[in-house]
């Protein structure tokens, strides 16, 4: 078995926290991962409250997982600026920011480390660790695109939260599931070959409920 990983998941102030919940659940249950550092920005917590229908001061771990977990450490990105993930000496595989607001991407691109999320991203880049930014925004302006180019040049991966349609999902849950599985596969935590495109399509396409309903 490969060495177990410590991995960071950051949630910032863009929509789509249910996908973050899907990723966190998978990371916690994955035996290849031995620890998850979770960070949720202040406005990310507001959004989490809105999208998940909970109070703004609710424990983000419990909100995302439905229960506590001794595998997850929660860091308040504003209050815990000097927490262990602020240093490159704290070993970590890398970081996924999901959802990634374009403001957060801008601060990371410019090296403006105002919170632990941005500082840890900065550390990932300097230590040449993986940094995956799941941006949620459309359309993109010139500043967004410049920052995304700069982030890519610096070694980060820009991974927009764009769904696929070629597996002909039948529900939002399937669409979310595919994104989460593809993202985890991308960071080396393969979960399934269900969505893998081949000459005969994919398992998801072939054993799904078939094509979507024709538009009348």
């Amino acid at each position: 078995m490969p060495e177990q990983r410590r991995i960071t998941l950051a949630v910032t102030e863009a929509g789509g926290t249910r996908l973050a919940a899907g990723v966190l659940r998978r990371l916690v249950s994955d035996e290849r991962v031995n620890h998850v550092d979770l960070m949720v920005s202040a406005n990310g917590r507001k959004l989490l409250a809105y999208e998940q229908g909970v109070a703004e001061d609710a424990d983000p771990v419990r909100v995302l997982l439905g229960a506590g977990s001794d595998k997850v450490s929660y860091w308040d990105p504003e209050a815990d600026m000097a927490g262990p993930p602020s240093s490159g000496s704290y070993r970590s595989w890398g970081m996924v920011v999901l959802p990634c607001a374009l403001g957060a991407a801008a601060r990371i691109a410019q090296g403006v480390a105002n919170t632990l999320i941005e500082r840890h991203a900065d550390v990932c880049l300097k230590e040449r660790r993986s940094l995956v930014l799941c941006v949620r925004e459309t359309p993109w302006n010139l500043i967004h695109l410049r920052n995304m180019v700069q982030l890519t040049e610096a070694g980060a991966v820009v991974y927009p939260m764009i769904p696929t349609y070629y597996n002909v999902p039948q529900s939002l849950e399937q669409m979310d599931d595919e994104f989460v599985m593809r993202l985890l596969g991308f960071i080396g935590l393969d979960q399934t070959d269900r969505y893998e495109w081949g000459s005969g399509g994919s398992a998801a396409l072939n054993d799904g409920a078939g094509r979507s309903q024709p538009v009348p």
Partner: protein, 192 residues
Amino acid sequence: MSGATGAPLGVRLLEVLREQDDVETHLVMSRWARSTIELETGLSVRQVAKLADVVHAPGDQSAAISSGSFRTDAMVVVPCSMKTLAGIRTGFPDGLPGRAADVCLKERRLLVLVPRETPLNEVHLENMLALCRMGVTILPPVPAFYNQPTSLADVVEHIVTRILDQLGLPAPHARRWTGLPTRRAGVQDDPG
């Protein structure tokens, strides 16, 4: 429509535009768009073609839209493949869709690209940046979550709404952000 996944987006846009009396649509489907339409929408190419006012063959460089003298208000490439994006950026277009986009650029007309790809490599991003600098709208089909979609149709409708917004056309099915609601779980409605 080019050969990226996301055919339901283009089909839905055509349907909404068809409801608008003062809009004339010209449709070009690339070879791979045709395959994608049949796979992803359950519709035939013929059925999709019927949604447009005029249909041009993708190899028909003599079509009206290949000349700037034929006046158009805007062009949308949805879905936009990374190959089509690259072709438009370099001015080395492959077939009619690329030529029509080239015309939009030279005539300074509105051009909206809906690039469907993730993750993005540096080539993709550099191409988008260069086109954005030229005034092109880069509108990736990233769903919103603030309007709390409950179905795949909601996700498609939202992207189509944002395209219509760029075109300055009415979006009758829009569900827009109006600020964080005051209502929270466990908090009763204000009795007043």
